[in-house]
C-alpha cells in the first residue's frame, strides 16, 4: 500500500485521515474479492449465491425497473420521515406545554409504538384504499414515536436557572420557546432524527412486504419479494444492496445534519483537541 512508507512527523495526521478511509475500503474490496473467488472456485450456482460481478451485471440490466423501485422506496421513506418530524414536533410541543394533554394522549402514542407495525399493516391496507397512502401511514407510525418522545423530553430539559433568568427578564412565552426550550431540545431531537430515519426505511420496507406486489408502482421490497418467487437471486441481492444504500445515505445525512446543527456547542458533536 502506498501509505505504508514511513512519513515525516507533520504528515501523520494526513496519513491517519487517509488510512481511515483506505482501511475499510481495502477490507471491503478484499471481502468482495474473496466472495467472487469462492463462488468461482466452488462453482456455486448463481441461484444459490451469485458472485458480486453477477449482482453488478443485474444492477445494470435491470437498471430501469430497479431505479423506479428505488425512487418509490426513497419517496415513501422521506415522506414518512418528514411527516413524522412535523407530527412528532407539533405533538411534542403540545406535550411539553401541557401535562394534561400529555397524560391524555401519551397512551395512544405508546400503543402505536409497541404494537408491531407488521401486525397493524394488514388492517391499514384494508381501510386505506390507496396503497401508497397505506404504506406511508405504516412507515410514519414507526418513525413518529422517537421524534415525539424526544422532542417532549428535550423541551422540558432546559436548565431551571435559565428558566428563572427568562422569568426575571419577563420573557414572553414565545421568547422562552424560541431562545431557551427549542435550543435545549435540539440535541434530543437530533438523536431522535437519526433513529427515526432508519425506522422510516424499516417501516416502508416491512409495510411493503405485507402489501405484497399487488400495486403497479412498487418499491424495493416488492422487487425482493418478486425475485424470491421467481428464484432470481442476483436481482434479490441487487435490490437488497439498494435498500441498504438508502439506509446508509439516510444515516449519513442525519449525522451530517446533526454535526452541522450541534457541532459548535454540544458535547456529543464537539471535536476535542488532543
Amino acid at each position: 500500500m502506498a501509505h505504508d512508507r514511513p512519513g515525516p512527523l507533520q504528515g501523520d495526521s494526513h496519513l491517519e485521515r487517509s488510512l481511515r478511509f483506505a482501511m475499510p475500503a481495502a477490507a471491503l474490496v478484499a471481502a468482495l474479492a474473496a466472495w467472487e473467488f469462492l463462488v468461482w472456485f466452488n462453482d456455486v450456482p448463481h441461484y444459490l449465491i451469485p458472485a458480486p460481478s453477477r449482482i453488478a451485471t443485474t444492477l445494470v440490466t435491470d437498471f430501469a425497473s430497479l431505479m423506479r423501485s428505488l425512487w418509490f422506496t426513497v419517496k415513501l421513506t422521506l415522506l414518512s420521515l418528514g411527516l413524522a418530524v412535523i407530527g412528532g414536533v407539533a405533538l411534542g410541543m403540545l406535550f411539553a406545554l401541557s401535562r394534561t394533554v400529555e397524560m391524555s394522549l401519551f397512551p395512544f402514542a405508546v400503543v402505536l409504538q409497541v404494537t408491531p407495525v407488521i401486525a397493524i399493516a394488514p388492517l391499514i391496507l384494508i381501510y386505506v384504499s390507496d396503497t401508497f397512502h397505506a404504506l406511508l401511514i405504516c412507515a410514519w407510525i414507526v418513525a413518529f414515536f422517537p421524534i415525539l418522545s424526544n422532542t417532549a423530553i428535550g423541551l422540558r430539559s432546559a436548565d431551571h436557572n435559565l428558566h428563572d433568568l427568562f422569568t426575571l427578564y419577563r420573557a414572553t412565552p414565545w421568547q422562552r420557546l424560541r431562545f431557551l426550550m427549542i435550543p435545549s431540545a435540539l440535541p434530543y431531537f437530533m438523536a431522535a432524527l437519526k433513529i427515526a430515519g432508519g425506522l422510516a426505511l424499516i417501516g416502508a420496507v416491512v409495510a411493503e412486504f405485507v402489501a405484497g406486489t399487488a400495486g403497479q408502482n412498487t418499491g424495493l421490497a416488492s422487487r425482493i419479494l418478486e425475485s424470491s418467487f421467481r428464484n432470481e437471486i442476483p436481482r434479490m441481492f441487487a435490490a437488497l444492496l439498494l435498500v441498504s444504500l438508502v439506509g446508509i445515505v439516510i444515516f449519513l445525512m442525519t449525522t451530517l445534519l446533526s454535526r452541522a446543527v450541534l457541532g459548535h456547542w454540544h458535547e456529543s458533536e464537539v471535536r476535542r483537541e488532543r
Binding site: 436548565d159 436557572n161 435559565l162 428563572d164 433568568l165 427568562f166 422569568t167 426575571l168 427578564y169 419577563r170 420573557a171 421568547q175 431562545f179 431557551l180 435550543p183 435540539l186 459548535h264 456547542w265 454540544h266 458535547e267 464537539v270
Partner: protein
C-alpha cells in the same frame, strides 16, 4: 433604589417573619448555614418566588413589577450560560428579551464584557472558558441592563480560592463604579466580611434574621485588608454571631 427597599416575608418553612430594609448603595451579605432560607429570600426579592405572607417592595414596586429603572440583575451559583450561544449571545440575552436589536445591543454588551475583564472573548463558546471566566460572563450578563440592584446567589462557591479572591475584588470595583446596591448570599464568613458593609446573619429552621451587623471598614478594600487586625476582628465578631445561631438551633432541637 431611590427610597427604601423593604423586605417583609413570611414563608411557611423556608423564611419566617423576616423584616429588613436595605438602603441604596449598600453591599449587604446574607450569611447563614445551608437551609436558612437566604437563597429563598433572594429569589423572593427577585420576584422568582412568591411569598406566602407579608410584603416585599423594591423601590416602591413589588418584585418583578417595576419599570426599567428598578431593574435587578441576578447571578446564580452556577454560571447558568446557554451552551449553544457565544459569550456575546449570552450577555445579549437580557437585551434581546426586551426586543433590542443585535446591532443596538452591541455597545452595551461589549462594554459589559470589558467591565468584567473579558474584552475580546465575545465570540467564544462557554465550553471554551474556565469556571471563573464563565462566572464573569454571568456577571456581565447581569450588568448589561444597567441594574441598580444586583442579587448574587453564592456566585463563587464553586470556584477555587485564587479565582474567588480575584472575582471578589472585581465585584467590589463594579459595585463602586456602577453605584450598585448588592445583596450577596454566601456561607463564607471571610467572603462576607471582605465584601460587605453590612452582614445579615440568618438562622435556620425556620429561616429568620438572627443578627444584623454593620461593618465600619471603608472602601476601597484590597487583598491587604485580609491581613489587617480589623479584618480579623470583624471575622471573629461575625463568626461568633453565626456560631450563636447554630447553638440556639441546637438548644431548640
Amino acid at each position: 433604589m431611590a427610597g427604601v427597599g423593604k423586605v417583609f416575608a413570611n414563608g411557611i418553612t423556608a423564611v419566617n417573619d423576616m423584616s429588613l430594609s436595605i438602603r441604596e448603595g449598600e453591599f449587604v451579605s446574607f450569611l447563614g448555614p445551608s437551609g436558612c432560607g437566604k437563597s429563598t429570600a433572594l429569589k423572593m426579592i427577585a420576584g422568582l418566588l412568591a411569598q406566602n405572607s407579608g410584603t416585599i417592595s423594591v423601590n416602591g414596586h413589588s418584585p418583578g413589577a417595576g419599570a426599567d429603572a428598578t431593574d435587578v440583575g441576578f447571578v446564580f451559583q452556577d454560571a447558568t450560560l446557554m451552551p449553544w450561544g457565544t459569550v456575546f449571545d449570552n450577555v445579549y440575552l437580557p437585551l434581546r428579551l426586551r426586543g433590542i436589536s443585535r446591532d443596538g445591543a452591541r455597545d452595551p454588551v461589549l462594554e459589559a464584557l470589558v467591565s468584567v475583564g473579558l474584552h475580546g472573548f465575545d465570540g467564544a463558546y462557554p465550553r471554551e472558558l474556565s469556571g471563573g471566566m464563565k462566572m464573569r460572563v454571568s456577571i456581565a450578563r447581569s450588568l448589561v441592563t444597567r441594574p441598580k440592584l444586583l442579587l448574587m446567589d453564592e456566585p463563587f462557591a464553586a470556584l477555587d480560592e485564587m479565582t474567588r479572591f480575584k472575582l471578589n475584588n472585581d465585584v467590589l470595583n463594579l459595585w463602586d463604579q456602577q453605584k450598585l446596591t448588592v445583596i450577596f448570599v454566601t456561607h463564607s464568613v471571610f467572603e462576607s466580611v471582605y465584601l460587605s458593609n453590612r452582614i445579615v446573619v440568618m438562622a435556620a429552621r425556620p429561616g429568620r434574621v438572627a443578627d444584623d451587623i454593620t461593618l465600619d471598614e471603608g472602601y476601597p478594600r484590597n487583598d491587604s485588608y485580609r491581613n489587617t487586625p480589623t479584618y480579623a476582628e470583624n471575622c471573629r465578631i461575625v463568626s461568633k454571631a453565626l456560631q450563636s445561631t447554630l447553638n440556639g438551633d441546637g438548644h431548640g432541637a
